[in-house]
């Protein structure tokens, strides 16, 4: 559980997808999501499937990690499917009983909706599985840089995000240890009424807050000792720079998007 949050769902690896610039992957995820809602008909569906399988194949992450995210939205998917199935009006009625009507169009809608949701989750999982949260913030910062011209504090926000990301696992680990230390003294975090339970949290929260404040203090001090003073003129140790691979990926993505749009508007 700990490491889940620590690294997002990052699955360490060395594939071409892992090596891509995070900006490319952000853009790619966006393109793929858009494409899922643009495509229509069997050809578009085929193209989206082939593309997804292609990316999954080259990113070398075991398939079971890809579909892990689906578990979280099973209920949403079930609802969507049921609503689409029963509430789509159409001419080809397949089944009719009382107020329940299933039409051919409904079946088609439900199936496509399920496919869209599944691909959406799997597709974005490819991004989060191959990119650490820190890389993502880095990519976001660089991609949104132009906004700082109109006064959006892009650097400060992304710095806050990376510090938060850095601290979440530390605090979770600490919560775990403090909880155990108090349980070793007989504390009970699981039983009792709501009020009792809230009161039982005090032995956990006090040490946790004290340590969080201490850490924040230490970090601020350490940053100041290294002359950190914020955005303007700051350079990165590892600046993001596009490589040949990234340009190739952009071309591929644009070709894919073009293909989807072409299929949608010119074929069916």
């Amino acid at each position: 559980m700990l490491r889940d949050i620590t690294l997002g769902q990052y699955y360490p690896g060395n594939s071409p997808v892992h090596k891509l610039d995070p900006r490319v992957k952000l853009f790619g995820a966006l393109v793929y999501i858009v494409s899922l809602f643009v495509f229509r008909g069997i050809l578009g569906f085929l193209l989206a499937t082939v593309f997804l399988i292609f990316v999954i194949k080259i990113c070398q992450v075991p398939f079971r990690f890809m579909v892990k995210g689906l578990k979280a939205i099973v209920i949403l998917m079930a609802f969507t499917a049921v609503f689409n199935l029963f509430l789509t009006p159409g001419e080809h009625v397949l089944f009719h009983y009382g107020i329940f009507t299933i039409t051919m169009e409904g079946v088609k809608n439900a199936a496509f909706m399920l496919i869209r949701l599944t691909y959406l989750i799997v597709g974005t999982s490819v991004m989060t599985l191959t990119t650490t949260p820190n890389q993502l913030t880095d990519g976001l910062e660089k991609a949104l840089k132009p906004l700082s011209k109109i006064g959006v504090p892009v650097h400060a926000v992304s710095m806050m995000m990376s510090i938060a990301l850095r601290f979440i696992p530390i605090l979770i680990e600490e919560t775990d240890i403090i909880m155990k230390a108090q349980m070793a003294r007989g504390a009970n975090f699981e039983e009792g009424s709501l009020i009792v339970r809230a009161k039982n949290m005090i032995p956990l929260l006090v040490p946790l807050f004290i340590s969080a404040f201490r850490r924040a203090d230490d970090l601020a001090m350490a940053m100041e000792a290294r002359c950190y003073e914020g955005g303007e003129g700051r350079t990165k140790m590892r600046p993001l720079k596009y490589q040949g691979l990234d340009y190739g990926a952009y071309v591929l993505l644009l070709a894919y998007l073009g293909g989807i749009i072409f299929l949608r508007f010119f074929i069916v």
């Binding site: 700990l2 490491r3 889940d4 690294l7 699955y11 360490p12 990690f65 600490e174 240890i177 403090i178 155990k180 230390a181 108090q182 349980m183 070793a184 003294r185 007989g186 504390a187 009970n188 005090i202 032995p203 006090v206 040490p207 004290i210 340590s211």
Partner: protein
């Protein structure tokens, strides 16, 4: 009365990309009244091991018996086990939370279900045993020095009157004087209260002086288990896993290598002195 571990294994993050087997088939028997030192390199699984002894962590496979009862049985009272096997964590900052030292030490006995008076009585006794000066009893625990905090943390566990006391690196971050004081205190408790004491440490020196039995951990496995003098005979193997025997072991081995007829298995400075003096008598 004993704690028995049978083939205990534990894996962190099972089923994720970050699986880490921290214990591998550990089999141990800990008897009543023993004074044990657990030693091992950073990451060898010491902390993981001791958290199994009071049921804070659940083994992935294997069994643990406390006084002959399987602690993973459905109706086994783990909360009671934790009051009988007291565990003091490495950093006192992780457990101090009350407004005063005294109240903090009362936390354990109160959780055991004792009323205020009885809990207070136990707290006083524990604080005295742990050597906390009386003028600190009603101070906030956060204002104390590192060594004092550690004593308060130990008192917080002692107040539950455990039969087994486990301490995770009780000397980390203390100066030599503070370290000796804490270790003397622990040794004293083992002697006077006949408690089973398990001490986790990095330092052979610390442990050699006090304990009767040393368990050496390496990469989640029990590497050596025996009396200090037995264990230190393997000082060459110990070096390979990033540990070392106490200084005197090396001195004695050196002397022996140069042809002095001493028995080389002294583990403390005192023993070494005696065996060298014997030679000149």
């Amino acid at each position: 009365m004993s704690i028995i571990l049978n083939n205990v294994s534990f894996t962190y993050g099972e089923g994720t990309a970050y699986e880490m087997q921290a214990l591998k088939n550990v089999t141990l028997k800990i008897d009543d009244g023993e004074f044990i030192g657990i030693i091992g390199h950073t990451g060898s699984g010491k902390s993981t091991l001791i958290q199994h002894l009071n049921g804070l962590m659940k083994a992935v496979s294997g069994e643990i018996y406390f006084n002959g009862r399987d602690i993973y049985e459905e109706d086994f009272d783990l909360r009671e086990l934790r009051t009988r096997v007291g565990l003091v964590f490495q950093y006192p900052e992780h457990q101090l939370f009350e407004t005063t030292v005294f109240n903090d030490v009362c936390f354990g006995p109160m959780n055991q279900g004792f009323d205020k008076n009885e809990a207070g009585l136990r707290a006083f006794e524990a604080l005295r045993m742990a050597g906390v000066p009386e003028k600190l009893y009603y101070q906030p625990p956060f204002d104390l020095s590192g060594g004092q905090k550690r004593r308060v943390a130990i008192a917080g566990v002692l107040a539950m009157k455990p039969e087994v006391l486990i301490l995770d690196e009780p000397t980390a971050g203390l100066d030599p004087k503070g370290r000796d004081e804490i270790l003397d205190l622990i040794a004293g408790m083992h002697k006077s209260k006949k408690m089973t004491v398990i001490l986790v440490s990095h330092s052979m020196e610390d442990v050699a002086k006090y304990v009767q039995r040393i368990i050496v951990m390496d990469e989640g496995q029990v590497f050596l288990d025996g009396a200090p003098r037995e264990v230190f005979k393997y000082y060459k193997e110990l070096e390979k896993i990033g540990l070392c025997a106490p200084e005197v072991t090396y001195l004695m081995e050196d002397l022996k290598a140069r042809g002095m007829a001493i028995d080389g298995d002294a583990t403390t400075v005192e023993e070494a002195k005696q065996s060298i003096l014997k030679l000149f008598q």
